[in-house]
Amino acid sequence: MRIIIGEGSCGIAAGALKVHKALEKAAEGKNIRIGITGCVGMCFLEPIVDIYDEEKLVKRLVKVSENDAQRIVCAAEKNDYSDIDDLVISKEDEEFLSLQTRIALRNCGITDPTAIDDYQKRGGYKALEKALSMSPEEVIEEIKASGLAGRGGAGFPTWYKWSAARKSESKTKYLICNADEGDPGAFMDRAVIESDPHALIEGMLIGAYAIGAAEMIVYVRAEYPLAIKRLEKAIKDAKEAGFIGENILESGFSCKMRIKSGAGAFVCGEETALIESLEGKRGMPRLKPPFPAQSGFKDEPSNINNVETFANVAWIIANGGKEFSKLGTENSKGTKVFALTGKVRKSGLVEVPMGMTLRDVIYKIGGGIKNGKKFKAVQLGGPSGGCIPEELLDTVIDYKALSETGAIMGSGGMVIMDEDTCMVGMSKFFLDFTAEESCGKCVHCRIGTKRMQEILTRMVNGEGREDDVLLLEELCKAIKDGALCGLGQTAPNPVLTTLKYFREEYDEHIFEHRCRAKECTELLTYSIDAEKCRGCTLCAKKCPAKAIEGEVKKPHIIDKEKCIRCGACSKVCRFGAVVVE
């Protein structure tokens, strides 16, 4: 029997390492092997422990704590699980996975990311072998047939980029993987690298062969130490196995590979900024043209794709582009991975075929909204994307359909918001982010996002001005047209979509000084309902501003001048007497 612990960053954050230690201790001297896998994708159930009989998954245990180790080992030993029934995943939660179609995540949560043979057992590096037997042009044709488009957000056809780089003449071309996943709320790429680094390597090798690259570089976010560690190990193993280096698999094709760690700058997700950063410079985007395919890293032709894009490549070569293109819609083929988070009951990694509706992803897979609250919006594409309201939940996952809503497919962040989320606050959140992450090079972005941030800050503080919405709209248009790079050009999207679908919330903030989500503290007033107040004095004791007065057993009163709107009273009141408006 094997006991496998899910040790992605999420699992580890939830305590997987402690569970691992406890299991090892419990299994000492027993005929049970303890192993690891990457991210299963069910973040809401971490830590997750799987019990395997050879290659067969016998039981999946969830929300495991180190105290459960003893009984888990015992159960596995006896092959009798009645004792740990409480830990076994529910039928309903199993649907989280069973409703998905996994291509990019095909090995995630199954194989051991630190073991190359585990990957090979599941057909790993067979696609590379196949690709090397084809001509580079044939490989590109296969990718073209698949309809694979860039998963980083823009959705540019992958074959087209490859073909352009292929045609650029130079001895030293570069194939670069953009793993600078920076959207707040997105962790798809991290999960792939942590859980299945060889899928990335194999995909990159195929790409490198197709364009004729001499070197592959993975640019990884600095904040992903575990991903870097696992990828380093995988590269070392792949080199030793002869998949990376000189004359790969006797094909005559040679290619080097290395990792470059980013140093904390969101803008480096923009490909020209990424190249600057690779060259050891400030990550300020370059002018296009020239495009990287003509002159990129070290002025050599360079092709840049995102992690998820590469993770699909080996599968496509192995199964044929046609097979991939059977999934999806007219415009968008294959599957897309999302990091489903926010106010959704089941959060985690979701890979679904293109064409599924947002509603199905959120309600069928995600299980709907937490705590019985009402759905308000789903945010796609992070700081470059937008918020989609309830009435558009039947929009299908498709590059064109999503961009028609004003949002974008994005790299895969999918954040669910409920009635307690203020949409003006949400806009401010994203503008805070883009303003902070603006590289400072171009005027429209550097000053424009700052001004938008200032206007939104005014609004949430109840100081919004009558013409602020107009001013915002004007800035949005100008920044979209005038910013130098993608970060700037898309920075207005969160504001534009919320203005489009939630305009009334802006008006309420400006004209009525009201926040319906009760999130903007500056706009709230606290008072005590005299009928409900029992005069227990608890609120008065807890109030840090000493703003509550009253005699014991008599209704208390909040002095609105003194009140700092911290909400402490409302939290401690057992009678629901504090009214927040």
């Binding site: 954050a13 707040p184 962040g413």
Partner: protein, 161 residues
């Protein structure tokens, strides 16, 4: 002249392992920060000289990336996640409570040198939102009170030692 007098020989090994070209500036700065805990000015000058990068460019890079620190770090690096999932789960309030409690702001170190606090884009533990990470260990499902009590515990522990 720099006011720092760092032991520059600590970098020798780095220069041996990594090719001394401008392209490797960020990597070398990262290694240097691992060694010194932050980037002293003389270290940056030295690196620039070795790699053939002008001091103005080294400073430019060191101040561009949020990972680099130009002042010594606290014993505990507290990273407050500001990702979207954390935001919708109330991370702003947690951050405010933490800043108030430590009487400092993002990117700064507390007066006692114990904590360096930093708001980061996304720690990627979205299902645990709101999250903070202290020296690599994640603390999830935070409330303002819970976050402050975690920090208070560390302070107590340190005071006892």
């Amino acid at each position: 002249m720099s006011k720092y007098k760092s032991d520059l020989s600590n970098l020798d090994e780095v220069f041996e392992k990594i090719e001394n070209v401008p392209e490797n500036l960020i990597t070398v700065l990262q290694k240097a920060q691992e060694i010194y805990g932050f980037l002293p000015k003389d270290v940056m000058y030295h690196i620039g000289e070795k790699l053939g990068v002008k001091p103005a460019k080294v400073m430019g890079v060191a101040t561009f990336y949020s990972q680099f620190r130009l002042e010594p770090m606290g014993k505990y690096l507290v990273m407050l996640c500001g990702g979207t999932a954390c935001h919708v789960s109330g991370s702003e309030k947690v951050a405010k409570a933490v800043f108030d409690y430590l009487e400092t702001e993002s990117g700064r170190t507390t007066k006692d040198g114990l904590f360096t606090i930093e708001k980061v884009a996304c720690l990627g533990c979205c299902s645990l939102a709101p999250v903070m990470m202290i020296n690599g260990e994640a603390f999830g499902n935070l409330t303002p009170e819970k976050a402050v009590s975690i920090l208070a515990d560390i302070r107590k522990k340190e005071a006892a030692e």
